[in-house]
Symmetry: C2
Subunit: 105 residues, 2 copies
DNA sequence: TTCTAACGTAAGAGTGTGCTAACATAGAGA
DNA sequence: TCTCTATGTTAGCACACTCTTACGTTAGAA
């Protein structure tokens, strides 16, 4: 999960994720969306996204077509949700501990 | 938003956030939860969390009490949600463009 | 088979990040 | 006032990260 978050900390990678979210795109076309950096840089970003499973790769001849892996981003979403639910658990635990201490007094 | 994600990319900071999620804690007590690193390291992490608004600080004498800022994490959650909604928009746009091209043929 | 397009990969430079050690500050008591 | 506790800050080291340049690979076209 930590590597997943770190991967999204890079703005170009989240932008790539947006590009391939609803549309399958070849690497070159993705790189064309970033005129400021080299194709190599984008290729390396794609490698990172692939390594953490945020995108899927499909080969077609010499081309490599990428799509976003929605499920993996969904995992991050529910991870954030766990912050809230675990806080409810924690509040419950605190309340119970407080009640026990009052019972003792 | 980028800095917000980068802040959570560090596991000790998310752990700190969990600690102060439902309970106000002084800096020393937070640092005590991390025997492997110096108090100074935790102090620096707290400074980062404070700078992006993920925690609130309250001073009481020489102590500084920290609580999580739930609203800021909620912002990140809805940012992730925007990935899905924007994809719906994008799918709609693609569908409409496709329909127009079919109408032309 | 020889070219070329579409990729990935390796090496190195420059920059950022987390940590420790040492120092600074500010209240609370004695 | 002197001291102790709680805490932040700074300098510097080690490591990780992003980018460019240069090179390697593979599949189709000529």
């Amino acid at each position: 999960m930590e590597t997943l978050i770190k991967t999204l900390g890079e703005p170009k990678r989240t932008e790539i994720l947006r590009l391939v979210w609803a549309e399958e795109l070849p690497a070159t076309e993705i790189a064309d969306h970033f005129p400021s950096v080299t194709r190599s840089a984008i290729s390396q970003h794609l490698a990172v996204l692939r390594s953490v499973g945020l995108v899927n790769e499909r080969r077609e001849g010499t081309r490599r077509l990428y799509t976003a892996n929605h499920a993996e981003l969904a995992r991050l979403r529910s991870y954030l949700d766990s912050f809230w639910t675990s806080s409810l658990d924690r509040l419950r635990d605190l309340a119970e501990a407080d009640q026990r201490s009052q019972e003792r007094s």
